[in-house]
């Protein structure tokens, strides 16, 4: 039985894992870099070990340092959180070798699912749909035409060496196929010195929907329904919800079955997530698998009524899953907002710095998973995620209202945050109607970034406060000056005496 867990992470996720450890009577061990001596996970943990300089490649990413801390502390298991070493096959292998339980899948599973091409092949052979296309180089125009015929228009021609949209062509009409191929090839050649291109079906208005799965060491795998993660900016998720407004019970059952099948195909053990792209016609395609806890796992916890970290630990202890697929039901509706230290008005530039004041929302149906506190200096070395705000209510409509209420209560000063931007998302008509896909932020950019207007009175109140604060400061200064100047007092005394004499 696991009695002591080292959490090889920092920030909100380290604190979140430790909370479950505490409830289970498990001793938690933190590791920290130079910049993180004052971080909340170090304060929250029962034990803490220093592992090196602030940059993560000199501390949190060094397997040797983590293993060393685990041995020193006598921790029998390591929880990797997300990011850092969580999907590092080498780390999982090393833990096993050192006799430490890695709370996550084996090295083999991580390598198979971590590589996009092998993951794709595994999915194809276990009958899970993938985005149609080829990964090999298209050499002849004849071959291109036959592939296009097979997968159907529209298609995307992409440079193998590509990136940044170069050598990429969207083909919608048959007559453009050949000319697009030539253009893509010459562009790829010019940009990367390599004209290899491959072809993929273009998914119009895609939704990013993922399924949470759990597998134990006895071969049982269940899914915990979906999470809708289509609100993204530069491929970074911003808001997640469950259930997905796009989902139907039939589709959920089908996708759930495929997600379980995919996990069974690799004999998956632990908590994992299968990501899919879904189009408006409800066709879905495997995208990738994440072999770890996801940032957005709390919405599933709330709607299913489960603690995923506890489940992970129970699975690592070799226990059987406590629930069967039939026991899994969604109750109500949950949203998560990611609060980042960044400035939406300034191209989302990161905003590290001192938290001067913070008040987190409370009240019915609200959860915050965060790690900052008043007087804490957010370091510039790590992710800008400050906290996650999760709300739950019986219906989607009520849940939206609750999220807006919670965002209204959330006060952080000192650093710029995405709170106002998030509130705008919950006011955008497409979002409120549940009609959105991964182009949502792009399509609604003007509305999302338009500042709310304050009326004249509201503006004047803002100026008045600054004015009064300034006057108070001057008053304070004057008082201090007066008391410092002792001669002044004697002078006053003399004057008063003089006056009395008159």
């Amino acid at each position: 039985m696991i009695k002591k867990v080292l959490i090889a992470n920092r920030g909100e996720i380290a604190v979140r894992v430790m909370r479950s450890c505490r409830e289970m009577g498990i001793i938690s061990v933190a590791v920290f870099s130079e910049a993180d001596r004052t971080s909340l996970h170090v304060r929250y943990a029962d034990e803490a070990y220093f592992i090196g300089p602030s940059p993560s490649n000199e501390s949190y990413l060094l397997i040797d340092k983590i293993i060393d801390a685990a041995k020193k502390s006598g921790a029998c298991a390591v929880h990797p959180g997300y990011g850092f070493l969580s999907e590092n096959a080498e780390f999982s292998k090393r833990c096993k070798k050192e006799g430490i339980i890695f709370i996550g899948p084996s090295a083999d599973v991580i390598s198979v699912m971590g590589d996009k091409i092998t993951a794709r092949q595994t999915m194809i052979s276990s009958g899970v749909p993938v985005v149609p296309g080829t990964k090999e180089n298209i050499t002849s125009e004849k071959k291109l035409l036959s592939v296009v015929k097979e997968i159907g228009l529209p298609v995307m021609i992409k440079a193998s060496a590509g990136g940044g949209g170069k050598g990429m062509r969207l083909v919608k009409n048959e007559k453009d196929i050949i000319s697009s191929l030539r253009a893509a090839k010459s562009e790829a050649k010019a940009a990367f010195g390599n004209d290899d291109v491959y072809i993929e079906k273009y998914i119009e208005s895609p939704h990013h929907i993922e399924f949470q799965i759990l597998g134990d060491t006895h071969g049982n795998v269940i899914h915990l329904c979906e999470r809708e993660c289509s609100v993204q900016r530069r491929h970074q998720k911003v808001v997640e919800e469950t259930p997905s407004p796009l989902m139907t019970p039939e589709l959920r059952e089908k996708m759930g079955k495929d997600a379980v099948g995919a996990a069974k195909a690799v004999k998956y053990v632990g908590a994992g997530t299968i990501e899919f792209l879904v189009d408006d016609k409800l066709n879905y395609y495997f995208l990738e698998m994440n072999t770890r806890l996801q940032v957005e796992h709390p919405i599933t916890e709330r709607v299913i009524g489960i603690d995923l970290v506890k489940e992970q630990i129970n699975i690592a202890n070799g226990k059987k899953l406590s629930r069967k697929q039939n026991d899994i039901h969604q109750n109500g509706h949950a949203f998560e907002c990611r609060i980042y230290a960044e400035d939406p008005e300034n191209n989302f530039m990161p905003s590290p710095g001192l938290i001067k004041h913070i008040r987190e929302p409370l009240g019915l149906g609200v959860r915050t998973d965060g790690y900052v506190y008043e007087g804490y200096n957010i370091p510039l070395f790590y992710d800008p995620l400050i906290s996650k705000l999760i709300v739950w209510a019986k219906t989607r409509e009520e849940s939206i209202a609750r999220m807006k209420r919670a965002l209204h209560e959330y006060k952080i000063t000192g650093v710029k945050t995405s709170i106002k931007f998030l509130n705008k998302i919950f006011e955008t008509p497409d979002f409120v109607k549940g009609k959105y896909n991964t182009h949502f932020i792009q399509n609604n950019e003007d509305f999302l970034l338009s500042g709310d207007d304050c009326d004249q009175v509201c503006r004047d109140m803002a100026i008045i406060v600054a004015y009064i604060d300034y006057l108070n400061k001057i008053d304070k200064n004057n008082i201090e000056h007066a008391s410092v100047n002792k001669n002044e007092k004697w002078k006053n005394y003399g004057r008063r005496k003089g006056l009395q004499r008159l």
Binding site: P352, L380, D452, D460, M461, A462, A466, D469
Partner: protein, 169 residues
């Protein structure tokens, strides 16, 4: 005492007319406001005006006369222009004219790379310095054609917000 205040680059005149405990009377340009104001937490003020409750947060921006003021819906940049500020402003203007071509870090971070050297001729839009913060790299580009006059930081240095990094000519 009447004072000039800049709000989002617009000048407004304020005057405290009366103060009795929390009850204040303030004139903003030519509108008089009578309200109740209390500082409820450090940097957070509560105002009750005509029965309406306003919460306003103040964050000092750099120095004691410059504030970021957050109302729920909007945030304002507010600067108190007293005699000293007026003087400094005039001085700064002439200073700024001389150093218009400096690259200043808008946020704290770490210098990743300086792809230019002193004396190098650079074009408008050319990257002069790369600073990383929170796993993101930001390239700062020159807004003018010119020559690199001075490099004030080294690769690997940690920099503050508003710190001059590279001077151009």
């Amino acid at each position: 005492m009447s004072l000039e205040i800049n709000v989002d680059d617009q000048a407004v005149k304020l005057e405290l007319l009366k103060k009795d405990g929390n009850a204040l009377k303030v004139r903003v340009d030519d509108v008089d406001y009578i309200f109740d104001l209390v500082m409820v937490e450090h940097g957070v003020y509560s105002i009750i005006f005509k029965g309406k409750s306003y919460n306003v947060e103040l964050v000092e921006a750099g120095h004691s006369k410059k504030y970021i003021v957050n109302t729920y819906k909007k945030s304002y940049e507010v600067e108190v222009i007293d005699a000293e500020a007026k003087y400094m402003k005039n001085r700064k203007k002439s200073l700024l004219e001389g150093s218009e071509n400096s690259i200043i870090s808008p946020m704290p971070g770490k210098v990743v790379k300086i792809p230019v050297v002193i004396g190098e001729e650079i074009k408008r839009g050319q990257t002069v310095i790369i600073v990383s913060a929170m796993k993101m790299e930001n390239e700062y580009k020159s807004t003018v054609d010119g020559i690199v006059k001075q490099i004030l930081v080294k690769e690997g240095d940690t920099v503050d917000g508003d710190q001059p990094l590279v001077m151009l000519e």
